[in-house]
Symmetry: D2
Subunit: 414 residues, 4 copies
């Protein structure tokens, strides 16, 4: 099904060649200022063909809100959104390449096996165009998280091919133990990331090497993959459900649902498997005092926790539940399947042949994936925030427990 | 919420010190032979303290079916299952270590932040004991998948610390391109894996090195992580929903919901980001003919597809949908948080101190995680199988399309 | 949330004064012929101002399919649908009646209490306009049910005020025991119902009396309620889930979700509480042979059951599961809350006053509710059909049970 | 599926002849005092064979909490509950009546059609024993609603056969317009209801007539139906979701999921269709001041609304959302299908025959259904309360709207 989330629920529709793509966002809190101008920037960041000199006012992929707001205020009812497809013409069928061959590592063949009907675009909903609805919904979620909690979500490129922002070393098999990395995690902003267009890797030298690498693959009519790291700062504690819906599990679900992804790691990740527990464990320390009125939302109900951790190998999540430290994770993207080179493969009826794709192809999807990663992160977090605020609100109405559940040796109601 | 799956839905209950742990399995197909003896073996494989000489009849963690079967046949109604806790005594509160300190990288503190109530066991449901219900449910799912489709699910240890079964090399940044690895994926069995107890890594030399490594961490009262790879063979094509519930997304969700996991990768995974598209793409070839009657279920309705892929960097999934090739993925497990070494950390009320845990601790959870990975894989696959069989059954009742949706130039109903 | 169904899932959006209303239909079986012309007729039947002489080509409320089909064939992907709102102008706020008074028995006040934001239309999503998305989705569901199973769904007016098509009598406290009623249930068609516009009660004399009654309320600037009965014929057996999602429970849910409904009864209903069990029980009889090829879908997989019931007080459902007999139920609609008469009531800030609504008001919603009742019935049935076909398909792949579950004394696999 | 609710989610298991019946309650707010003694009273009220002289300590159907509490406090984690079956012996198959005949108006035949497997008890989960899990879960929900909001839920018998507590009259086609009825709704308590055992109709004369009527059916080896009315007092405003999950829709779903139900009506119900809008509309009046500290939970966050309605034909719900007035509804129960009289019917293989059931049969289920109705009402309300508290909590964190959404002519933030 094409639905994500329980409390903040997004349902998307649309494929490459239909009339429009879009989504319905159900469960958006009422009373929030919201217009298309809150949504368009991320739509534009997602568009192909961007560079440092891209004009900021890109009229393509223009989102139209259909419902759920009045006078620029959310009503709490479903928000319909729509973006027209420019190329609405369905492909005519005929003796064309796309009709003969399922493209290798595309979804053409698996869609046909699944549905028994071949869309003219081949893989139908597996098109990158489907992600438009996600980015639009994510922008709404982000706005709420920012206004209510001051949550910041920033993604950036951490590797392309074998060019890494933080290459693994014997000392740091995971960059989670590298203080430089943690400092970056704590401070990186979207504005900073976009200074490094087109690759969006916030380091001048590495960014240049990545750009060159992508160019070399483009020249060879080949493609290459990479990784995106995303950080979520200022999350309240208590997000995530124990057991099946741990916060890292829903983040992994969200990220692996993005086209072309092959992996996900939270905190110390795969490298963390090589670090001894004595180093990997994150000891607790007293949290620094928050200046009065520091809460971005200005609401005293958003309290900062008493403790934080000295290190952050956990990536802000312990036992599936957020601990208030920055949440960070990395997502792997494969090399795009569409390449200009000829490929020996089989036709739908199992005949041997050679497929040659024509036209412009994007040799690396990583930079454009960044707003999509941010959008999916926002959808996960807002869903968890609404679940937890329901639980906290429910508990707050119960009579206080008297001396039954002590901590640190004293009989103290929690 | 503690529920997993839509069509085959598992709800678990229980924490360390309560009366029992268990689950309800809803949506199990009716008419399948099922008794406790189908479930117990995986329960036993999950138990601590196993080795090659473990007696096969372990009376601990004995599962009792409460409902949903009669005369050893599933009725199609919910199957309740229960396993008694041996240590039902709740901890008395007092001036104990567990009351003073949230254990670093455990769930003690995040649970308290989430629920405002401290369970005597600290992290409540984050206990490894919670996985009992998953393994029981997974065993039922597996039986169905085996009987109806001949699906085989096998997990094994691929690394502990820096000891790898297939270390990454410049030639093979992902082992997905290594023919030796693919051969292992195609042939490995549970019986073979269990020949290599206690570490369950199917290579004598590597297994020995891993065992030594674990022993060295045990001696230091420290701990270490590792990775588990799991393969699912004989999956039908068409599993997985496009968009949010891609098959790799639900697998990632399932795996990251297992306690102590830090990462997931499907097919070529993180290493695959370094492989050019021209190599990474999996070309199609004609599938080898299946011998008559080869379908394990003996039902002609389970057909093998016409095409397969020459390589399998996709890990059996393209565009979020299974293509019939073996599905394989790897899961990262962190070093266990409970270590014997003293740790400088803070108390609940932010005082500084040193926490010393006593008792026997497992220095590496990887070998025991194997049946849990297999169980969660089975739960994902059965849910996808039931969704897809509903779709296929629904389509089969429609009047055939006449010449509308052609493939390879001919007007042919699909 | 604005979502209905699990396997065939409809999500709607839109209120009175926004840009458009519409829905996303997810889970429609692939490979079905579908264009706007399949959907428009029910949209048109739902429009106000219809009579026997209404032109068949009503250009208002024109539905546009956004996605999910190509060349008039469903792809199996989400179907987006949109209907423009004509009056998109939001009401300016000011010292107007609607700003001062919550209208009695409307949703103005409860919406404000719920969301803390007042939509210009008062009750926002409680508008009858919201039902457009339901009718569009229902038309798609109906087409599938008709093509695959030959299912027919027909609703008609059974009472307006105290004018009844079958008034309760001491002999028949429920019309379920009246053979005349059962004969109507078995034969009524939509074409027949629409012969009796505007009231849609298929009896000339009663229809005339109802029309006069409505006219008398219109004259008094008052309003009146009534009941709609709906029959679903040719349903397969086995629909409905035991326990919480019994078929009558999901039908009741669907019907009470239609604006202005106050009650639901299945089969003998409330009157059935007065009938002794010895009469109320439906004895089994051998089902009449179905002529070869009689299945409308032409698919032999849709088999008619061996037994049927002699009477049908159960309304086609026993133990929450369909038994193959016609399913019929009745829905109560209250008198419309908008009346021309002056009403003494309170303002939002609890001041006393008199509210006078101006303009044209519909004195009875019953006739227009008919396509909405049919749509919601179709959504319930298709969801149940897809759930049951998944179960049946899953079971069919298991090895046959040998002599374990006998019926009538013989060891016979079922 | 056997799951009810989204935020407070109940999953039940068990049929007549298995080891135990029970449920898992997921989403119970943490920090609430809870032991078996909070649950047992409703379990006992549900048991057969009760009368005014029933001993209060009935040891049958004893519930055991398995998990989710410690030291009598809820942890917020899933609460497993179990009740042993006394008759765990599955029926042997043989040439018995139950093997030959599907019992008329039972679920024997529909279950067989659905699952293809015959449970020894015939209709498997359709057994009244399945309701045990509901009552246990409902008791937990009720406790929360009472402690946090002072909500009271009371059900009572309003008719058996043609004996009515409030028979419909020309003046009052619905008792909703009868002030006597509304007074009863406002004041009735469970203690009062149980004074009128065995029928639980709170009027001495009517109760006596009902008792005699039931006795006469018992003598004839026949059965009879009736209705139960339920009132929910002190509900907060704002409960219920617009569109598909209107509060009356989820109540209807819940009630029609109880075995043997045939109808549901909210507020004025079916009778209300005969009342003109000018009488049926509920005008607003200023709500009476609540005495300081009157909120049972003692929490100032539970505020009483500013307005209430003068009449209550709406049954406390407008536009699908609670308005703070008492919510009341009526549920129809059919005559039990099990009767002692011989019935001419067909065997499973369509042979003609006569079925004679032996043993003790309950001629009327209405009185025992009362705690089940209350339990299901509690499950609906707690789910809606948690959804709404999440929404309200989410909104409360947003910056206040400035002068954008006015009411009554003034620019006022809501």
């Amino acid at each position: 099904m094409s639905t994500f989330g329980t409390n903040f629920r997004v349902t998307t529709y649309g494929e490459s060649h239909c009339l429009s793509v879009g989504c319905i966002v159900d469960g958006c809190p009422p009373g929030m200022a919201l217009t298309e101008s809150d949504i368009q920037p991320q739509m534009t960041r997602r568009r192909p063909g961007q560079s440092a000199i891209t004009t900021p006012r890109n009229e393509k992929d223009k989102v139209e809100i259909q419902s759920g707001t009045e006078f620029g205020i959310t009503l709490g009812t479903p928000i319909g959104m729509r973006v027209m497809n420019e190329n609405q013409r369905k492909q005519d069928y005929g003796n064309q390449t796309m009709d003969l061959y399922p493209r290798p590592s595309h979804a053409d063949w698996t869609y046909l096996e699944k549905y028994g009907v071949k869309a003219s675009s081949g893989g139908g909903r597996s098109s990158a165009r489907e992600t438009i609805g996600r980015v639009a919904a994510g922008a709404i979620a982000e706005k709420y998280l920012r206004e209510a909690y001051g949550i910041e979500i920033v993604a950036f490129t951490t590797s392309i091919g074998n060019e890494f922002l933080f290459p693994p070393t014997p000392e740091h098999p995971s960059c989670a133990t590298n203080p430089e990395y943690l400092k970056l995690i704590d401070t990186i902003s979207r504005a900073k990331v976009d200074e490094f267009l087109p690759v969006r890797c916030p380091d001048e030298a590495v960014s240049k090497r990545m750009e060159d690498l992508v160019a070399s693959y483009k020249e060879k009519e080949d493609s290459i993959g990479g990784t995106v790291t995303c950080v979520i700062r200022n999350c309240p504690t208590g997000l995530g459900e124990p057991c099946f819906d741990k916060l890292e599990a829903t983040l992994a679900h969200a990220m692996l649902s993005i086209p072309a992804t092959k992996g996900f790691e939270i905190g110390s990740g795969f490298g963390g498997t090589q670090i001894p527990g004595s180093i990997h464990n994150d000891p607790y320390i007293k949290a620094p005092a928050t200046p009065a009125g520091a809460t971005p939302s200005g609401h005293p109900s958003v309290q900062r926790p008493r403790l934080t951790t000295k290190t952050n190998n956990s990536g802000g999540i312990q036992g599936g539940i957020s601990n208030g430290a920055p949440i960070y994770f990395t997502v792997a993207f494969k090399p795009p399947a569409t390449i200009g080179q000829a490929q020996a493969t089989a036709t739908y009826d199992a005949g041997e042949g050679v497929l040659e794709a024509k036209g412009r192809h994007d040799p690396c999807v990583v930079p454009r994936a960044i707003p999509i990663v941010e959008a999916m992160a926002a959808l996960v977090i807002i869903d968890a925030v609404l679940a937890q605020s329901s639980r906290a609100a429910a508990r707050s109405l119960l009579p206080p427990l008297k001396g039954v559940v002590p901590i640190h040796g004293k009989a103290e109601a929690l």
